[in-house]
């Protein structure tokens, strides 16, 4: 009789007891196994099965789920997105090693050129893009900011465009005041004005008015270039400071989010404020639909000049793999397709640089200013302040006043 049999014979068959210790041991083992698999799982899959991932950094509203899904299905890739609020934030992210984290970056105005100067983005191969439907106003030779400053290399492709004009309540603001930047500094409207909390655009708008008042807007500039509200002289900055300090007493608030401004405009607490025109469009559509009586207008280009932007896609210098480079171009090309641009126009309300007028209802064509694309050439493009340190001091002085 072997020992096993002996044991089995001598000990009556018992149902094995589940002790607390065994439960804890089992749970611990399961947790360890799960944790290990979760940690190493992504790295032990078959390399051939790995899906290519395209990562872009941009404004959150451009993250249109339906477009992403369509592109992923079409090219069998995964698309992920990171977001920023302003160009300088994206700039800091890329400078801090973000070119390895993102394959594409969005920027507007002069910013792609700054990226190119710092070697953060690479050339975009225009032969891989179908630009046939893009308005002439947004590609060279009419629009040159897509090209590197010191070469013929194309460094970005256009996406959407717009201005940073004023939405004005026409029943409250006199007609003769509506089209001037001075409206934002007009004591007649004390307690009924608002501006955004963005310091660059506040100073730039004040800079346009300051240069206009000082007569320096059309005179020869120290840098030999034409007037740019982001490159202001010390005297102009001092005048900006004076204007902005005066403006503080006239403001209801500086809005951080569009919802707040929309509520204040609809309640007629605020009569005029700079904004991207999205709020104007929503209120105007409500009027067209008979849901609102408010008479609003959006002044895209004030008499002294205004701010504008064409946002663009660039490919970061971190993309070295040819397959990734190819798919990055395909993404830009996909976003330039008319169907994709129509979706962007209708779903998120930004004006496409692609001509989709025949695909949109008339109200969209009007309020997205798609019959006025030439206006972009009369608007000062968004840029980085010539000296962020000086601008910061001006803004701190305004805030402290």
């Amino acid at each position: 009789m072997d020992k096993t049999n002996s044991t089995s014979n001598s000990v009556p068959h018992q149902k094995r007891r589940v002790s607390r210790r065994s439960v804890i041991k089992g749970a611990a083992a399961l947790s360890a196994a799960g944790f290990t698999w979760k940690s190493i799982g992504p790295f032990v899959r078959d390399a051939e099965a790995a899906t290519l991932e395209l990562r872009w950094l941009g404004w959150e509203h451009y993250n249109v789920k339906s477009l992403t899904a369509e592109f992923e299905n079409r090219h069998d890739v995964k698309v992920s997105a990171g977001f920023f609020d302003g160009n300088s934030e994206a700039w800091n992210k890329l400078r801090a090693g973000g070119t390895q984290d993102f394959d594409l970056v969005m920027a507007d105005g002069f910013w792609p050129r700054l990226y190119a100067k710092q070697g953060l983005v690479q050339s975009v191969d225009y032969s891989k893009l179908d630009l046939s439907n893009v308005f002439d106003d947004f590609v060279p030779p009419k629009f040159t900011l897509l090209r590197a400053e010191d070469s013929e290399d194309m460094i970005a492709a256009p996406n959407c465009w717009g201005g940073y004009g004023f939405t004005v309540n026409m029943d409250k603001v006199a007609a003769e005041d509506q089209e001037s930047v001075n409206l934002l500094f007009n004591e007649k409207y004390e307690g009924h004005l608002s501006t955004s909390a963005r310091f660059e655009e506040n100073i730039a708008l004040a800079g346009i008015l300051a240069a206009h008042n000082m007569g320096t807007q059309d005179s020869e500039r120290p840098d030999g270039k034409s007037f740019n509200p982001y490159v202001l002289s010390d005297e102009e900055l001092e005048e900006c400071k004076r204007l902005l300090i005066k403006q503080k007493g006239l403001l209801v608030n500086r809005w951080n989010d569009e919802d707040t401004l929309e509520r204040l405009l609809r309640a007629q607490v605020v009569w005029a404020s700079p904004e991207w025109s999205g709020i104007y469009r929503r209120i105007h559509f409500d009027k067209l639909d008979g849901k609102s009586d408010l008479n609003m207008r959006h002044v895209l280009k004030p008499t002294e000049g205004g701010l504008g932007w064409v946002d663009q896609w660039s490919i970061t210098s971190g993309v070295t793999d040819s397959e990734k480079l190819e798919i990055a171009h395909k993404w830009i090309d996909f976003r330039l397709e008319r169907e994709a641009m129509k979706t962007v126009a209708v779903e998120i309300g930004w004006a496409p640089t692609v001509d989709v007028r025949d695909m949109l209802p008339e109200r969209y064509v009007d309020t997205l200013f798609l019959n006025e694309t030439g206006s972009i050439h009369g608007l000062y493009q968004f840029d980085a302040p010539s000296s962020p340190e000086k601008w910061e001091r001006i803004w701190s002085a305004v805030e402290a006043a």
Binding site: L251, V252, E399
Partner: protein, 293 residues
């Protein structure tokens, strides 16, 4: 078995095993970033670029120039005012709950923390709906034919109201926990010995619960001093605080070196407040009987 024995027998191994991971976490994710902030504060920024050009200009600006110093003083004043108002409001509430709450004490205290079931942004948005120019209060006033109250929205007063609303549960909880262990019979003894209620309060209740009160002050003062969302959304054109300016340096302005100096100054100011309050606590008087008391 050997590993288990080692844990049992060698205190150094046991200490290292237990303390090591936590200490490593603190060094990696707290001390090194803090140290880098201190280093950056002695550098300078030029066109969004940090340049390792050692200087103290940032500290001269933060502590010597009115455009920055004003925000530091304003934030300290706001934190002090909010703490004081929370203290005055929370003490009687906590006292009533601790003394007369009966079996509902815990429920009542937990109810004060109910707003914490939602996020800070939601609570601030709710405050906007109540205090705003088109908020509940002003709409009601206008319905009644009265003038709307302008100071209720987009002012420093609105910020203060928002901050009090946000942090008062911390003050209340700290004082309540202190009073929870307080022997109310001592007040009877004081009365028997001829003390009037106010004297009994200031000579018995207050000093014996000062530690809980001081903790409550710290728990309100520090987050108020560091508040950014509330002043940004409720404060209006004149509502900017020190932290808003600090955020601005690290955000769109990109002047990281100046922002780092502001961060260091803020950290030191907070530590000074904690130190001053700590010096006022007499552990033995507060009834603390632990080692070193």
């Amino acid at each position: 078995m050997r590993g288990r024995r080692a844990l049992h027998l060698d205190p150094r191994v046991r200490f290292a095993t237990l303390v090591g991971p936590g200490a490593l976490f603190i060094v990696l994710f707290l001390l090194i970033p803090l140290l880098s902030i201190v280093v950056f504060s002695f550098w300078r920024t030029e066109s969004y670029e940090l340049i390792s050009d050692w200087n103290v200009n940032n500290y001269e600006a933060v502590l010597g120039e009115w455009i920055y110093l004003k925000f530091l003083l304003k934030s300290l004043a706001m934190a002090a005012a909010v703490s004081a108002i929370c203290l005055v409001y929370a003490w009687p509430c906590a006292y009533l709950i601790a003394k007369h709450g009966g079996r509902y004490k815990l429920v009542l205290v937990l109810l004060t923390a109910a707003p914490f079931l939602t996020g800070i942004l939601l609570r601030i948005t709710a405050m906007q709906q109540i205090l705003g120019p088109i908020g509940l209060v002003n709409m009601a006033l206008m319905e009644l034919g009265a003038q709307p109250i302008q100071v209720l929205m987009y002012t420093n007063i609105a910020s203060a109201v928002g901050l009090i609303y946000l942090w008062i549960p911390f003050m209340l909880l700290a004082i309540y926990l202190s009073l929870f262990n307080f022997n109310f019979e001592l007040l009877e003894v004081a009365k028997v010995n001829g003390a009037r209620p106010w004297r009994a309060f200031f000579e018995v209740t207050w000093p014996l619960n000062w530690m809980g009160t001081a903790i409550g002050i710290v728990l309100v003062f520090i987050p108020t001093f560091a508040a950014s969302v509330t002043p940004r959304f409720l404060g209006g054109p004149n509502g900017s605080m020190f932290v808003n300016r600090l955020e601005h340096q690290f955000g769109s302005a990109g002047t990281w070196a100046l922002g780092s100096a502001m961060g260091v100054v803020m950290c030191v100011a907070s530590l000074v407040v904690i130190f001053v309050l700590w010096r006022t606590v007499r552990l033995r008087r507060a009834g603390f009987t632990g080692a070193g008391a």
